[in-house]
Amino acid sequence: MNGPTPVTLGAELPVLAPYLVLAVGGLAVMLVDAFSGGRRRDHLSLLTLLVLLGAAAAQGAAPAEPRGATLLGGMLAADRFSRFFNLLTVTIAMLTTVYATSMFERDGRYRADFYPLTLFAALGMMLLAAATDLLSLFLAVETMSLAVYVLVAGERGSLRSSEAGFKYLILGAFASAFLLMGLALLYGQAGATDYASVHRAVQAAPDGGILLPLACGLVLVALGFKVAMVPFHMWTPDVYDGAPAYVTGLMATGVKAAAFAALLRVVWLLPPIAEAWFPLLAVLTVLTMTYGNLVALSQNGLKRMLAYSSIAHAGYLLLGVLAVLNTGRDSATAVQAAAVRDAAGGAILFYLVVYALMNLGAFGVVACLSRSRREEADAIDGYAGLSRRRPFVAATLAVFMFSLAGIPPTAGFVGKFYIFDAVVKAGLVPLAVWGVINSLLSAYYYLRVIVVMYMKPAEGEVHDGHSWEAAFTCGVLALLVLLLGVVPGSFYALAAHTYRQMIF
């Protein structure tokens, strides 16, 4: 209470607007739902999309802040990095809303709590990507996680959904405890909670005994849990599989992107300690990639396969984080090191966007082909003959699978190329080679889906749901994936520039 309290709230309002729009919009959607009586709930989806559009517009209209500007007395960053993630999060939430509504309409049974919860989850993700204070980091993680716990468990009457939500809640609470303990230790060392002070304290005492490495390790455990890093991945298959497909898409893309954004800020914050953890992090990254890919090989359900694939992709992204961390060690000059770090950071941002596009596309296809929420289009065998039944949807899913496998000319290939390129430049050639081998391994299970769709005749139980909105969205996403695969240059430059402008 003694520090300078922000009285400049009015001046910060335009930059805070995206967050405020989502928060107030979420509350408004709750109220509208409460007062809608027993009627249909399709106006809620419209309202939710409007709120998300409003947040995007507010973000677009927000004035460009000078480098180093923070909001609310150092709680949130107002940099290009947070703007980048805000727009990504809003896009992800909009796609999720479209998929969810299309599934609700097919059932004729609306799940009204989905809409405010999605808005609150998106708010948490945006705050997480912008957090520049230990307290706002924790609050953002909790805002996001609480909403997602309920989203996962909210499919009433489905035992698997409840089980998934319960597992995620229990394990997530553990992860939060780890995070809180780590943040408390950091605070104990630094005597302040904002990143700038913590950074200064860490620089002043790089070998401050056991406390800082321990704190850093605890924070890494918590963020590793959110991004599904081995050995904190145990929840991933069950939760991704048990949650409804539209929520799984949100978790695999939005939660992961936000957690990686926070991780990028945190590793930037703690360079000397992160260095102490480097060998362990490298081993865990290799394990994450390998485990995800090996176990995905033998999956028969598409959602479960995508869950393991999401573990593997967390591994590729962690490779990028390792490249960011390693630049301080080998590179000849500081300028060179900064260039490599920007390249690696830009590669991570690029990959997160590409991953969001292709993964949301894949989950969108699942949502599109599901007959109802009880019968989700999960079994891979059910995709047999899809190329004849639904040539368009099959083509989009093929694009997403090619992209996930990293085959040109899709964006997945370019994203992996940038990551591996940065890893090589950072002097970690063996890790890059291992990443490429893993990528080859993963081609088997992604291409299997395409083989089933195009070369197997339909027999037995096949997926034949349909939704125009979901199919249209998947088409747009497939186009974007191809577009970013053919002309990635300017977008990559934007991503690298965004990362360079990141403040902490």
């Binding site: 309290t5 509350l27 409460a34």
Partner: protein, 123 residues
């Protein structure tokens, strides 16, 4: 670090030693003549009639949760009320009021939601 821990370790050690000593002494010196009444579970009041692992009506859980929410609100209000005077003295009255107003407004929205959704009805 380790030098500071020695007194704590001594306290822990002494406590462990003493309690073990008393337990051992009473076991060694005390008479041991059990009967059926003595070996029943010790309880005050009415004897237990059934096991305690019964099913609770799930609505209790909802009520407990709502109680917790509104209880926490007052927990937040207290420190704010104490600080309010000093904040007014610093000329930040509007900020203090606005902050608590936003908090209570969010809570009221939740309250209205619970009310309209029938969370407060017992049936």
């Amino acid at each position: 670090m380790s030098a500071q821990a020695i007194p704590i370790l001594m306290v822990v050690g002494t406590a462990a030693l003493l309690s073990l000593l008393f337990l051992g002494l009473s076991g060694w010196l005390g008479p041991y003549r059990p009967n059926s009444l003595k070996s029943t579970t010790y309880e005050c009041g009415v004897p237990a009639r059934s096991t305690v692992q019964i099913r609770f009506f799930v609505r209790f859980f909802l009520v407990a949760l709502l109680f917790l929410l509104f209880d926490l609100e007052t927990v937040f209000l207290y420190p704010w009320a104490i600080l309010f005077r000093s904040m007014v003295a610093e000329g930040r009255a509007a900020f203090a009021l606005g902050e608590m107003g936003a908090f209570v407004a969010v809570l009221v929205v939740g309250f209205v939601y619970v009310w309209k959704k029938g969370g407060l009805e017992w049936q």
